[in-house]
Each structure stands twice: as structure tokens, then as C-alpha cells.
Symmetry: C2
Subunit: 196 residues, 2 copies
């Protein structure tokens, strides 16, 4: 694979999606976040809304229903498999930025993949989510905690690694002091140094 | 505090000490790693060798000796307190690079502190330690696992945070692809962007 793929893991409210969009623009390459949902819908036949509701969630196992799962994969496992296929297709086709969905892990072993994790202190993330979504600080905090708990559970379940642990990424940046533009600059610097 | 302090946490064999030395040279500021031991020895009255043997270790509690510890702090707690005092003195006195010893946590709330974590895949760290210490790969791996286990236990015990978790640091860099010089460049870039 000769393309350059940058995966971005992100804490909710850290500006990770925004960083990814700006980076893709600066590099003149494609950007994939929720776009992966549409592609999964197209290729898998699942409804778009159904995927949006169920993706990036780890399987729920209920005691007493075990017999069912012996014959049928939980839906989130099927979605993970479908999304992973699409992530690999995208990475093989062209240079791009891919946000979330364990893409760092899915592309493990591929050359020219740079894995980035973007985070920020909770106070900064509350402020960002409250403003973006028009929520109270309390509701923003609840949303962030719920989203990050789900992301961590999803990542840890499918990868056997720990979400947000520095060792899984080539570069981790706190966006609080640098902002979106500064964080993009850091990633660009990393890519520039890689070439030497 | 008007000084600039860069703390560096590091996986064993990732080149963290070397990164710190080169960064301090490039910025023309002081570098503290084992130098903190000498200062702790000077100020605390503990013997230098004794500190080297006991620092960066979490307290060992043995069942049946609890009564003793009710009256006497474990030695590693005393050393942590002494080292923390010295780390704060250094940070208040002058710009510097400080390696390890929970310095990111000790200086929490201080302005102008940038916390960096440096890591690398195990294979790269084994190669580095084997060459540096003249060890077999097997022995280098044993050394790395033992050292990092102790560092993580020490950090997690005293800080209630998780060693190597991205959120504790402003910047985390994998040294495998960038090398020492590239990692120093990344930290310098971060500092440069901070000024804007």
C-alpha cells in the first residue's frame, strides 16, 4: 500500500473530528467519519439509521440468552466486521483520514498508517460540547461520559488493547492548549519528519 | 512561575532520557534525571546508593507488619515526598527538563509545565536496551518488563492516575519511526505552537 492513512482516535468533545477534517483539507486527501456508515449501509444492506444506532457499541450479552448467541453473531460484531472491511478497502484505495471505529487496530500491519489520539481535559470538552450541541454543562458532561464509556468499551472489546493508552498510537495530542489548528500542525510535523 | 518545565515520562528503552538530554541541550536549559537522586541525597541525608535502590518503587506492604507502618511511613513514601519537594524547587528556580519520578503529577497546577510521554514498540525497546547494556534480547526483555512494571506501579500508586495513559500528558510520541532527533523536533514544535 502506497497511500498515506491517518487514523484518529478521539475523546468526545476534544475536537478530534474537526482536527481530522482540517488535516484532510490541508493534505488534500479524503476524510471519513460518519461517511463510513453510509458505505457500510450501501455494502451490507443494513439500514443507515440502524447502523448509526448500533455502530461503535460493544456486544451486549444477556444472561439466559446465551444459546441464541451460539448460533447468531451479535449485531455489533457483524457491524464491526463490515466496517473493518470497508476501512481496509478505503485504506487500500487512496490516502485518507479515518476517524474512530478502531481503525488504528483494523489497519495494524499496513504500511504508511499513522495512528493519532486526540484528547483534552474534561472541562475543555464540556465547554466544547455544551456550545456545539446547545446543552447545559451538566448535560454535556453526561453526554461525554456516556459516549467515551461506549467508545472505550467498544475499542477494548474488539482490540484487546486499552483505548487512550499512548502505546497504541504514534502521536497523542492534548488539544486544549494548541487548539484545532495547532493540533493539525503537530500531525503535519510528524508526517514531515517521517519522510526524512 | 515564569520558567518553562518539560517533564518526560518514558517506557524503558524508548530513548526518553536521551530525548530529554537532547531537548535540554537544544533549549539551553538544565536536565534532571538521576541528578535528582544526588539532590535528594544532599537534602534528605539518605545515602545516594540507598536512594538509587529505593526510588521509583511503590511501597511494599507485608501482611503482619501493618502495626509497624501505622507508626512509620514506608521508606519509598518518604523518598517520594523528598523527591517531590526537590522537583518543585527545581521547577520554581529555573527552566528545565525533568525525567520520570511522577514529575507531571508533582507539578500539577504549575503554569508553563509541558508533560510529555515517550514510548516505542517492545521490539524496538529490546533492541535499544540490548545494545546499550550489552544484554541478550531475552535479558533485555526481562529488564524492560521489570522496570516498566515498577514504574507503572510507582506512578499509579502515588498519582491515582494510569501510567502511559495519553490523557495525563500534553504530548505522547512513539520514538520508533522518528528517532531521538525527530522526537525532540516534535516537542520543540509543541513549544513553538504554545507561544502563538
Amino acid at each position: 500500500m502506497e497511500h498515506l492513512v491517518i487514523t484518529i482516535g478521539r475523546e468526545n468533545g476534544s475536537g478530534g473530528r474537526h482536527v481530522g477534517e482540517e488535516l484532510a483539507k490541508a493534505l488534500g486527501i479524503k476524510f471519513y467519519d460518519k461517511e463510513i456508515l453510509a458505505e457500510t449501509a450501501r455494502q451490507s444492506g443494513f439500514a443507515h439509521e440502524f447502523i448509526a444506532e448500533n455502530e461503535e457499541k460493544k456486544p451486549q450479552f444477556f444472561w439466559g440468552t446465551g444459546a441464541f448467541y451460539m448460533y447468531e453473531q451479535p449485531i455489533s460484531v457483524k457491524l464491526y466486521i463490515e466496517q473493518s472491511k470497508i476501512i481496509k478497502q478505503l485504506a487500500e484505495k487512496e490516502s485518507c483520514v479515518i476517524v474512530g471505529r478502531c481503525s488504528d487496530y483494523v489497519l495494524h500491519g499496513y504500511k504508511n498508517v499513522v495512528n493519532v489520539f486526540v484528547h483534552a481535559p474534561l472541562s475543555a470538552r464540556i465547554a466544547r460540547v455544551a456550545e456545539r450541541e446547545g446543552l447545559s454543562e451538566k448535560d454535556a458532561k453526561t453526554r461525554i461520559n456516556k459516549t467515551d464509556k461506549a467508545r472505550a468499551a467498544y475499542y477494548n472489546y474488539f482490540t484487546n488493547q486499552i483505548w487512550g493508552e499512548a502505546k497504541n498510537y504514534h502521536l497523542c495530542v492534548d488539544t486544549e492548549n494548541l487548539g484545532i489548528d495547532g493540533t493539525v500542525e503537530m500531525i503535519k510535523k510528524y508526517l514531515e519528519l517521517l519522510k526524512h
